[in-house]
């Protein structure tokens, strides 16, 4: 029995590793290789021509790529921070509610059920300059007479995309932070109040440190899935107008399937993968740190 034990976890993990190796690792290695070739889907023979780092040099010297890269980082930064703040606010509102907690919690999770592509269509519909809910409301309320060209003017389009992204993902933050608030022991808050802390101080020095790991869990989960934004952007603007809302992922998709330049697209894809990994590892480490802090305090 004792000699068998060490191999048991490996045995149990084996199926997971086999599937992931077959579906993720091997294709990724393949795409790594093809990022060094001028591979085009229409010309299979190009798969075997090695061109060294030319694809990488090509994209690194391409301003469109850097714009897309910068825009992606900007979108993620704005969206994640907003989601965190709004999620915190929402969770605290719901936690304070004395009645109807269960219904409120379900309503709060409502956007999580929407497929990202559905979110895209839904907001494309609502931000439509002619028949969209947003413009209709603004015009009916007499705030503006013109049809505001959401999705057509580049800054507005970026705003609209951010709103859609924030709407669809805030609930993940809210639900996890709510879990943190509910799990929090009540004594430290009471102690802080007795000691004369203002509500803000109580929040800042008692509640927040406790809730922080939960916020980082949410960040980690979200960063595993940051590319959800692809679906939304693809549907809402498809990178338009004139590439002004192009993100890394839509650029990859366009290069690969519209231009059929697989090698080049794979080189770009590697950048977006590195970006995702960087985000995930960063938050994972933050999570570990916050967890250690809590463990020491509670």
């Amino acid at each position: 029995m004792k000699g068998f034990k060490p191999s048991a976890p490996i045995l149990l993990l084996l199926p997971a590793f086999v599937v992931l190796a077959a579906v993720v690792l091997v294709p990724l290695l393949l795409s790594l290789y093809s990022s060094f070739t001028p591979f085009r889907l229409t010309r299979p023979e190009t798969f075997f021509v090695l061109i060294g780092f030319r694809n990488y040099i090509l994209i690194l010297s391409n301003p469109d790529f850097w714009w897309a890269f910068g825009r992606t980082v900007l979108l993620l930064t704005i969206a994640l921070n907003l989601e965190m703040l709004l999620g915190l606010g929402l969770a605290m509102l719901v936690e304070k509610a004395t009645r109807g907690q269960r219904i409120l919690r379900t309503l709060m999770m409502f956007p999580m059920m929407f497929s990202p592509i559905l979110v895209g269509f839904q907001f494309k519909f609502m931000f439509n300059d002619n028949i969209g809910l947003v413009n209709n409301a603004l015009q009916s309320l007499g705030i503006t007479q013109d049809a505001i060209p959401w999705l057509i003017e580049s800054h507005l389009a970026f705003t609209a995309i951010t709103i859609a992204e924030v709407w669809s993902s805030t609930s993940i933050f809210a639900i996890l932070i709510l879990a943190g608030l509910l799990a929090m022991p009540k004594e430290p808050i009471e102690a802080a109040r007795v000691d004369g802390c203002t509500p803000w101080q109580t929040f800042r020095y008692v509640t927040w440190p406790f809730v922080m790991p939960f916020a980082y869990i949410a960040m980690t989960i979200r960063s595993l899935d940051v590319a959800r934004a692809y679906d939304i952007v693809k549907i809402m603007t498809d990178g338009g107008p004139a590439g002004r809302t192009e993100l890394l992922w839509t650029l990859v998709g366009r290069t690969a399937y519209s231009d059929a330049r697989m090698g080049l697209a794979n080189a770009m894809a590697y950048f977006s993968i590195l970006l995702s990994i960087a985000f995930t590892v960063y938050f994972y480490n933050k999570l570990a740190a916050a967890r250690a802090q809590i463990g020491a305090e509670w």
Partner: protein
């Protein structure tokens, strides 16, 4: 006396402010969904009307009837899509949960070398964006001839779901005290029996919610499905939404109707799962 009154007033004002804030927040969250349901019931003329018609004049289920009435009558093969979605999602969920249970159990119950590194490594496989994943998969699948098949989609979705399923199930097994299984083993159960008789029943609600979460991921996935499916053989509902778009126009009413059909199963499942889901996510990550 005066101070009392003003304090009471302040508290009442705060309560009202809280109610209003909560109401506004919930309204913002639900509005897009309500709008979709409403639009699916209104005639296209009303959706397109300028100036807008705020109060619906007539509601009908025409869009739903048209959608299910098949190709050529203004419908799309929605039943095929629905069936594909269901087959692919359910099968890959079952497989992912089986594999995830083995993996999660290993992480929760055993100590071995390189454990946390392995855990992070598993998670990282999930970070590969769907669109980046779809390029090499498309190529490999094309070579193997499994593009546009259920098998191909199921395989991809199993891999997509394994990391997260392992994370969740690991958390739920951690909540089950180790002593219970050990006690069962002392009483003469084998490890295998102890697992099925003691630990599995206790972790079952959590595993069920991990399953529902995996199901929702498959049900909603688009980036991979849009590249790896071609026809009614394997197209799923999210890809089917695109059938309502033409080059420059979109049939908003039909699309809203299909959206409602897509959301209803997701809504039901999420309602069932909501309580356990959060527990699993946080316990695994905080106590780990």
């Amino acid at each position: 006396m005066d101070e009392n009154a003003s304090a009471r007033l302040a508290r009442r004002a705060l309560t009202v402010a809280h109610r209003v804030g909560l109401f506004l927040a919930m309204l913002l969250i639900c509005l897009p969904g309500i709008w979709i349901v409403l639009s699916s019931l209104r005639p296209t003329v009303e959706i397109m009307a300028k100036p807008p018609v705020w109060i619906p004049q007539e509601l009908s289920f025409d869009a739903y009837v048209a959608m299910f009435s098949g190709i050529g009558k203004g419908g799309i093969p929605v039943l095929d899509y629905f069936r594909n979605s269901l087959i692919i999602s359910v099968t890959s969920t079952v497989i992912a949960v089986a594999i995830g249970m083995a993996g999660g159990y290993a992480f929760a119950r055993y100590r071995f070398r390189g454990k946390s590194g392995m855990f992070l490594g598993l998670m990282l496989t999930r970070t590969v964006p769907g669109i980046a994943m779809s390029l090499p998969l498309f190529f490999v699948y094309a070579r193997l001839g499994i593009i546009d098949t259920h098998f191909g989609m199921i395989l991809a979705y199993v891999a997509l779901n394994i990391p997260f399923t392992i994370w969740l199930i690991d958390g739920f097994f951690r909540q089950v005290p180790k002593d219970l299984a050990e006690a069962a083993q002392i009483d003469g159960c084998t490890r295998w029996q102890a697992f099925w008789q003691v630990e599995f029943p206790l972790a079952r609600p959590g595993i069920a919610s991990a399953a529902i979460f995996a199901f929702l991921t498959c049900w909603n996935e688009f980036a991979l499905a849009s590249q790896l499916t071609r026809s009614v053989n394997s197209k799923t509902l999210p890809v089917g939404l695109l059938d309502y778009t033409a080059e420059f126009t979109i049939d908003w009413r039909g699309m809203c109707a299909l959206a409602v059909v897509m959301i209803i199963p997701a809504l039901t499942l999420t309602y069932i799962v909501q309580k356990h889901l959060v527990g699993g996510l946080t316990s695994g990550a905080v106590k780990g």
